[in-house]
Amino acid sequence: MSYTWHFGILLDYQVVFYRAAAVTIEVTMGSLAIGLTLGLTLGMMRLSRHAVLRWPAVFYIELFRSTPVLVQLVWIYYALPVLSGVQMGNVATLIVGLGLHSAAYLAEIFRAGILSIDRGQMDAAKAIGMGYLQAMRRIILPPAVRRMIPPFINEFATLMKLTTLGTVLAVSELLHESENLINNTYRPLEIYTVLALVFAAIIFPFIYLSQRLEKALTVRS
């Protein structure tokens, strides 16, 4: 064991980690917003009794779940412009790509959450004259979303770790910036160690919160 660790020099570069962490968080939040909106829509479409709504949702969800995210990102970045003429920047591509990807998983979380609510609740809501969407919004989704919080946070953590794929699009998120730093400092072991710790520092509070919430919710019901 002759390796001498030099974490000290990273103090000079700490601002690089702050900047990159900001990009990572921005990409995560952006794609989460897309994923939640589209995921709720797809989840409800998949539960529809109309095949014209159900089948496109099934196709979308299974397509995105059965192909690698990296391929999806590269495809959106390089193939989509050729086919459609739409060329997004690398950050936009990462946000949209991860958003579309997470929507498929979030849709399944929404679907499972909605299905976990007793059927009688929808009956009761309809019996007092609510329409389907009104009943969803007022009666079904509030308790369903409570039950979805732990899987949501799980998905959030997954999404944040997936932002490291942005390095192939040269997005200046944490992994990409770390690799640049390694090229300047030749200190890969220190830098990868710190990189891992930075991710843990961002993600762990959410996991802790999710466990607390889960406990609090089981106690109440």
């Binding site: 609740q121 009956d123 009761a124 309809k126 007092i128 609510m130 389907y132 509030p142 308790p143």
Partner: protein, 259 residues
């Protein structure tokens, strides 16, 4: 199409299938204003399904249900064929029929009073103050005024079912549908729910009740219907049905439920 000028609910040749299972097999009925109609029959005979067709919680697939001048659940298309009605119209008809379920189906994250005012405020757009005042009146009427701010999980089954009745009444319904309202209750709690229902009947509420409470049927019903294998096999005033049933299977069913 109209018969019985004062009928609130009219049913013509109603059919309902679940896949290949033919559950309601051609039922006719007219419920007069202020009438209390009790449907009895063995489990699996289609009673609950029939009741749920009346407000289109089950989508019937043959025949017609009329509520006043509204065909429930369907509208006539340009070519005269029946099409599924718009969601908004279906909801509008449902709002005028109260329904009480076997499993109460109160909204668990809302207090008793919030359950009661949900329909008036959200569906009918009534001001909250007014809805609360009327809601409290209704809770007083069903005897759980002191539980207005309790959550459903904190009160007894009988109190929950009375809250559910108040929730249905809050919509000022023209008729009330009861789907085995006491079947999920402990025996000692059945009476308090039946008392509320008797009170409603005495006030002249139009009621269709699916129940196994034969004493309630005998005392309160204007008409009793025996349902078996998806059909109304025998109909009559309770005195007749209970003392001199026409059909052997009605007699046999009554013998089994009244020991």
């Amino acid at each position: 199409m109209k018969n019985g000028a004062d009928a609130v609910i009219r049913v013509h040749g109603l059919h309902k299938h679940f896949g290949s299972n033919h559950v309601v097999r051609g039922v006719d009925l007219a419920v007069e204003r202020g009438e209390v109609l009790v449907i009895i029959g063995p489990s699996g005979s289609g009673k609950s399904t029939f009741l749920r067709c009346l407000n289109f919680l089950e989508e019937y697939d043959g025949g017609e249900v009329w509520f006043g001048d509204n065909l429930v659940g369907y509208r006539r298309g340009a070519n005269g064929k029946l099409l599924r009605d718009r969601e908004r119209n279906i909801a509008h008809v449902r709002a005028q029929m109260g329904m009480v379920f076997q499993s109460f189906n109160l909204f668990p994250y809302k207090t008793v009073l919030e359950n009661v005012i949900e329909g008036p405020v959200i569906v009918q757009g009534e001001p909250v103050d007014q809805a609360r005042a009327f809601g409290l009146d209704l809770l007083r009427k069903v005897g759980i005024h002191d539980k207005a701010d309790a959550y459903p999980s904190r009160i007894s089954g009988g109190q929950q079912q009375r809250a559910a009745i108040a929730r249905a009444l809050a919509m000022r319904p023209k008729a009330m549908l009861f789907d085995e309202p006491t079947s999920a209750l402990d025996p000692e709690l059945v009476g308090e729910v039946l008392d509320v229902m008797k009170g409603l009947a005495a006030e002249g509420m139009t009621m269709v009740v699916v129940t196994h409470e034969m004493n309630f049927a005998r005392e309160v019903a204007d008409r009793v219907v025996m349902m078996d294998e998806g059909l109304f096999v025998e109909t009559g005033p309770p005195a007749e049905i209970f003392s001199a049933p026409r059909l052997p299977r009605t007699a046999e069913f009554l013998r089994r439920v009244i020991h």
